[in-house]
Amino acid sequence: MSAFLKVEDLTVEFTVGGTKKAPAILRALRAVSLDVEKGSVYGIVGESGCGKSTLARVLSGLTPATSGNVLLEKRPLSQARSPAERRRIQMVFQDPGSSLNPSMSVRRMLAQLLKHHSIVPRTQIENRCQELMAQVNMPVDALGKKPGQLSGGQRQRIAIARALAMAPEILIADEPTAALDVSVQASVLNLMADLIAELGMTMIFISHDMAVVRRVCDRVAVMYLGQIVESGPTEEIFANPKHPYTNALMHAVPRLIPRAADDYQMLKAEQPSPLAKIEGCAFRGRCPKAGDICKTQDPAMAGSAHQVACHFPRPPQQEGPS
């Protein structure tokens, strides 16, 4: 399997205080590896502090990695991205309210990018702007407006248009609908699904909303405290979560139709601090199945298509829940 985008042992650590001899280190990402196939939608789920946003920032070139590699078509991307490298990977941010410059009209913003990267000749800029509006189902007169004059859903479409302006090969969506109402979320998600189908783009979809991820993504990786604990095809993960944390996540999400009972026990306690040095498995403090080995050995990812990092993964359920 030739991976289009490959992440190898990516580690990101921040020093957030402490002393010179004993610095307080925040491990945002701990040796994360994943493969993304061309044209697929790869979902990353997890709760706050799991590192998914940091992963997005490293992939989009905003945050440098402490160690590890990001490879695009087998060639590593440099820390300081070149303009050509930047064009290939674009990002849609979470909050449409702050991800658009409040003092710039949509037209100016798009024109600036098209001009800077010489994507189309000068004479074609206005045309391309109008094309982009059509692509995101926005009226042409939106070009003359400033973000403050647009609704949340409209702003997010503009944010998508901005990402598309550079015709990227990979789109990273960092919680693109988290700040939107349900009714608006639906239209933005439909738009993204359409664009993926039309443009054959590869997408990395980061979200804490499991329901959305299930609809949109081909593969999913579940993150906890800076590590990937489980990954595999979406249906597999949702039907047969192997990691106790994945199972807990599935159960914790409120559903319209209540779930059938199974071996789920609600997670006690809370996440440990990401500053703490962890011996063994990071999840053992909350895990209903933790054993002695979990205290000393950090489990490695095992499996082929459906991988899990756990010493006591759940066996496949007979009458699989959902």
Binding site: A186, H208, A252, R255
Partner: protein, 321 residues
């Protein structure tokens, strides 16, 4: 089930306009003992303002009016001033638990202070009661945690502390303004579990406001769906989800990505909700409603009871009344 709260004709006005522009209302709210009433709506529906209006905790520039607001005392329903209810009969928790915690007081002291205010026991007894309350709300190792400062607590723990403060007031009703929106889903599950436990064991009544339909399904016995400041549909939770009669409720459910389903296109609701100064004459949802006809544009539908017990405000509600 006996009614413990009865509010009629609640309205929130923009004070400057002297009653001309009302972001919320008029609407009625009633609640039975130990019940969980859910209020669901998207942003701009007025759900948070409604909750704040019950205790008259509105921001500057907004004024509250009500036909009557009665609570149960003993055997009768008595008209009571909102200010008199605060922190006694009715408490409130909100999305930002940190805001309710004095950063300069240890949490044990904070709770003990409330205990003393409401039951005049000695300082040491109040401290013990505080630890007791922390245990009741599921704070692990409460003796140690009571010495913590608010900033040392996680979001989930802070919310538990705020809930324990409401218990310390011996409130009968807890108003919950999106208390879990800012929390992780596994922590949300814990808090929801705690609230339901309190509802069952202590008979605590809940009015729970959220935008999350699936969440309200889990926690509420009865639901009100709000749109543009009005209640458009209300009734038993199971009934509303099984047979939604108002087009807005139906549209919301069609737009919702349920975790059970992996396919099928989501149906968005075109357009945006109106601003309070642009509220249409007639049905406020009509401009976006697939079933709207002429009458919907000129007159506002009233809530009407259906055979199954739900109230719906629509001229074209399914199932008739």
């Amino acid at each position: 089930m006996s009614t413990v709260l009865d509010i009629h004709d609640l309205r929130v006005d923009l004070a400057k306009t002297g009653g001309q522009i009302s972001p919320v209302g008029p609407l009625d709210l009633t609640m039975g003992a130990g019940e969980c009433l859910g209020i669901v709506g998207e942003s701009g529906s007025g759900k948070s303002l409604t909750l704040k209006a019950i205790l008259d905790l509105l921001p500057d520039g907004l004024a509250r009016h009500a036909g009557h607001q009665k609570v149960r005392e003993g055997d009768v329903l008595v008209e009571r001033d909102p200010a008199a209810l605060r922190g006694r009969k009715i408490s409130m928790i909100s999305q930002e638990p940190g805001a309710a915690l004095d950063p300069l007081m240890r949490i044990g002291d904070l709770i003990a202070e409330i205990v003393r205010q409401h039951s005049g026991v000695s300082r040491s007894d109040a401290q013990l009661k505080a630890i007791d309350l922390l245990r009741r709300v599921g704070v692990p190792d409460p003796e140690t945690r009571a010495r913590f400062w608010p900033h040392e607590l996680s979001g989930g723990l802070k919310q538990r502390v705020v809930i324990s403060m409401a218990l310390a007031c011996r409130s009968e009703i807890l108003l919950c303004d999106e208390p879990t929106t800012a929390l992780d889903v596994t922590i949300q599950a814990q808090i929801v579990d705690l609230l339901r436990d309190l509802q069952k064991e202590e008979g605590l009544g809940l009015i729970f406001v959220t935008h999350d339909l699936a969440l309200i399904r889990q926690i509420a016995d009865r639901i009100c769906i709000m749109y543009a400041g009005l209640v458009v549909e209300s009734g038993p939770s199971t009934e509303i989800f099984a047979r939604p009669r108002h087009p807005y409720t139906q549209a919301l459910l069609a737009a919702l990505p349920d975790i059970e389903q992996s396919t099928g296109r989501l149906v968005p609701i075109e357009g945006t909700p109106p601003n309070p100064w642009d509220f249409p004459v007639g049905c406020r949802f009509a401009p976006r409603c697939p079933k709207a006809t002429d009458i919907c544009l000129t007159s506002r539908p009233e809530l009407e009871r259906s055979a199954s017990g739900t109230l719906t405000a629509c001229f074209h509600a399914e199932g008739g009344s």
